[in-house]
């Protein structure tokens, strides 16, 4: 997990093979095509979709996101900061007698412990999401179709030793692909002047 976290933070993308793209217009078609490509043993560079299509990540064979560990550990850290912080302040450093209340009332600490769990867990989940997705302000988006954030779905397959051109074209065609093309590994639809 640490390796994948470090990799997502500092790792560089390895030199890729050329890519084969299929452009689709419907979520059912792209889902079926993705399942068929996986069955055929092709390696996905990535699949792109304008909205979260249910089951597309599993169809690609992606494992469940590890971001839950970030939330759990950071949330636990928040609970501990709350517990030990309040214990230090109210009991260890300067116990003040207020209306005879106990200096270390666990139940009175629960609300703030809970709030700090949510606060620190939530903020770290956001930062973790940005790190896992390699998002940062000022990043130049690399789009595989000018309308991929609007209404187009793109499957990008790596052209390596597992790739079979004819089989892939057949899968894409039977699933109503709108467009198919082979592109360079650093392809970017916008720099090709494709802005629509």
């Amino acid at each position: 997990m640490l390796k994948s976290l470090l990799d997502s933070l500092f790792g560089r993308e390895k030199q890729r093979d050329r890519l084969f793209l299929g452009v689709f217009t419907d979520e059912d078609h792209v889902l079926d095509a993705t399942k068929a490509c996986r069955k055929a043993g092709f390696n996905f560079y990535d699949v792109f979709s304008p909205y979260a299509v249910h089951g597309l990540d599993r169809a690609m064979g992606l494992p469940f996101s590890k971001i839950t560990y970030v939330t759990f550990l950071c949330g636990l850290m928040g609970t501990c900061i709350g517990f030990f912080g309040m214990g230090y302040v109210s009991w260890w450093d300067w116990p003040v007698n207020i209306g005879g209340k106990e200096p270390f009332p666990f139940s009175a600490f629960v609300p703030v412990m809970f709030e700090l769990t949510v606060l620190i867990g939530g903020l770290c989940t956001m930062l973790g999401l940005f790190a896992f997705c390699r998002l940062f302000p000022g990043k130049k988006p690399r789009l595989f179709h000018p309308r991929v954030t609007d209404d187009r779905f793109v499957i990008a397959i790596e052209i390596d030793e597992d790739f079979d051109d004819a089989r892939c074209r057949e899968i894409f065609t039977t699933n109503h692909a709108e467009e198919m093309k082979e592109v360079a590994p650093d392809y970017d639809a916008l720099s090709e002047g494709g802005a629509a």
């Binding site: 600490f109 703030v112 956001m126 973790g128």
Partner: protein
């Protein structure tokens, strides 16, 4: 490609839209020149916000003496406004988080603006605890370790007022994060449609280079689920802790164990009232009737009748317990509430909160936007008065009859309340111009609900609507 409509489920979006239509319809309203109506609202509420700045400035210069508070009624409009605005915020989180966990797909059309509303309401709420101290710089000394000759004196973590500081600041932060995370894919779509370089830069910076990769969606969806999971207990904790401010005291009328659930139900009730008010205006002025449909409004009406009934039950339970407890002080506080000098506010509260939502039992009225609008205004008024009743009527006749008193708000207090509404609507007007008001990325994901697309070359006629009982 023909579209067949399910007999069991009606589509959530009307008008047989394509994916591109959805993007276009929502983005269009923030791309062209704003309408005159928008300028009127934006500048008008901006002026009212300036009024708020003026009255708050006057308060800070002159002190809390400019308010009508007295020795007996130490909390008046200030804390009433605070509790009212925090409550308003709850509907946004309920729609975005709780309905998400319950897989209520209709939430997608309304969650974005409801979340924005939450943020702005909590901003308004946060103002009042700060300014009610009058000299708020002294407040900051109390929050930080207080320097004195004996060493640092810490704040008292056994006090619910301090829990409240943590609850409200966490709520504001997490709501903002949840809202922003939801916005990222939509902002990327706005970025990719933008023609002007400044728009590309603005939306490009905010969307952080999002490109719709499913590897990213995989993390994104998990993170979104986590946020919903974190925000759900958070929203219940916030108003619970606000109610502790009252419930842990020894004031009759406040010292009741029913307060946490009663406050949470009231918060959701008032919040949905405000969401209805805002959305009815938004859908009309921004022509989003096909996205925020009558069915959405009806669903919100159902939540209002449920929470309104819970609030009504709480009013009754309070009276029963006041009698059943045998506590003289408790019984007096409640009889005084309903029949004493402030009984007018009590009966405004009951008629607005318990009687007015009863119209929603009728389907015809529940699906009538005008009826809903009027009813939502009543709910807003009633819930403001609920907080006023709880705070002022419990305080104004305390244990010592010689210190009994009445409370008259001054003009400054009334203008502060008006100004906070100005700030709230000003922020909302700014929001609907800058950010996509509907989470279209999520709407696209639920468009196949209630319709099945088949690849028949001849277009099929939509079947007549069958009511979903």
């Amino acid at each position: 490609m023909g579209t067949v409509y399910s007999k069991l489920r009606k589509p959530l979006v009307e008008g047989d839209k394509s994916l591109h239509d959805v993007t276009h319809d929502v983005c269009h309203s923030i791309e062209g020149k704003p309408s005159q109506l928008w300028w009127f609202g934006f500048l008008g509420t901006g002026l009212v916000t300036l009024l708020l700045v003026a009255v708050v400035g006057w308060l800070l210069y002159e002190g809390v003496g400019v308010w009508g508070l007295n020795k007996t009624v130490g909390w008046g409009f200030d804390i009433t406004n605070f509790v009212f605005w925090v409550g308003i915020g709850h509907a946004g989180t309920l729609i975005s988080a709780v309905l998400f966990l319950f897989r209520q797909k209709w939430r997608t059309s309304i969650n974005r603006s409801a979340e924005a509303m939450t943020l702005f309401a909590v901003v308004c709420a946060g103002l009042f605890p700060l300014i009610h101290m009058g000299r708020l710089w002294i407040g900051f000394l109390w929050v930080a370790p207080y320097p004195n000759l004996r060493g640092p004196l810490w704040v008292n973590f056994r006090s619910p007022l301090l829990w409240d500081v943590f609850a409200i600041s966490t709520y504001l932060t997490i709501s903002a994060v949840f809202w922003y995370i939801g916005l990222i894919p939509d902002l990327a779509a706005v970025r990719d449609r933008a023609k002007h370089w400044a728009r590309r830069l603005f939306y490009g910076t905010l969307s952080q280079g999002w490109n719709g990769s499913v590897r990213s969606w995989n993390h994104y969806e998990t993170a979104y689920m986590i946020f919903a999971g974190l925000a759900t207990p958070l929203v219940f904790s916030v108003h619970t802790i606000v109610s502790f401010d009252f419930a842990t005291s020894v004031i009759p009328g406040w010292h009741t164990t029913i307060f946490p659930p009663y406050f949470v139900a009231g918060a959701v009730f008032s919040g949905f009232g405000m969401v209805l008010t805002l959305l009815l205006i938004t859908r009309k002025t921004m022509r989003l009737e096909q996205y925020i449909t009558i069915s959405h409004l009806e669903n919100m009406g159902k939540v209002i009748i449920l929470t309104g009934s819970l609030v009504g039950l709480a009013y009754g339970t309070e009276f029963f317990i006041a009698w059943y407890s045998g506590s003289l002080y408790e019984s007096f506080a409640f009889i005084n509430r309903a029949t004493g000098p402030f009984s007018w506010s009590y009966w405004i509260m009951v008629s607005c909160n318990v009687l007015s939502p009863q119209v929603l039992w009728f389907k015809k009225l529940r699906r009538n936007p005008m009826v809903l609008f009027v009813m939502s205004i009543f709910v807003n008024i009633g819930m403001w008065f609920e907080r006023f009743v709880i705070i002022v009527t419990s305080l104004h006749r305390d244990y010592l009859p010689s210190s009994w008193s009445y409370y008259y708000p001054t003009l400054i207090e009334v203008l502060t309340l008006v100004g906070s509404f100005g700030l709230f609507f000003f922020l909302f007007f700014a929001f609907v111009r800058v950010m996509p008001a509907i989470a279209f990325g999520e709407v696209k994901g639920v468009m196949k609900m209630g319709q099945t697309v088949h690849h028949d070359p001849k277009p099929a006629q939509p079947e007549p609507e069958v009511s979903n009982a």
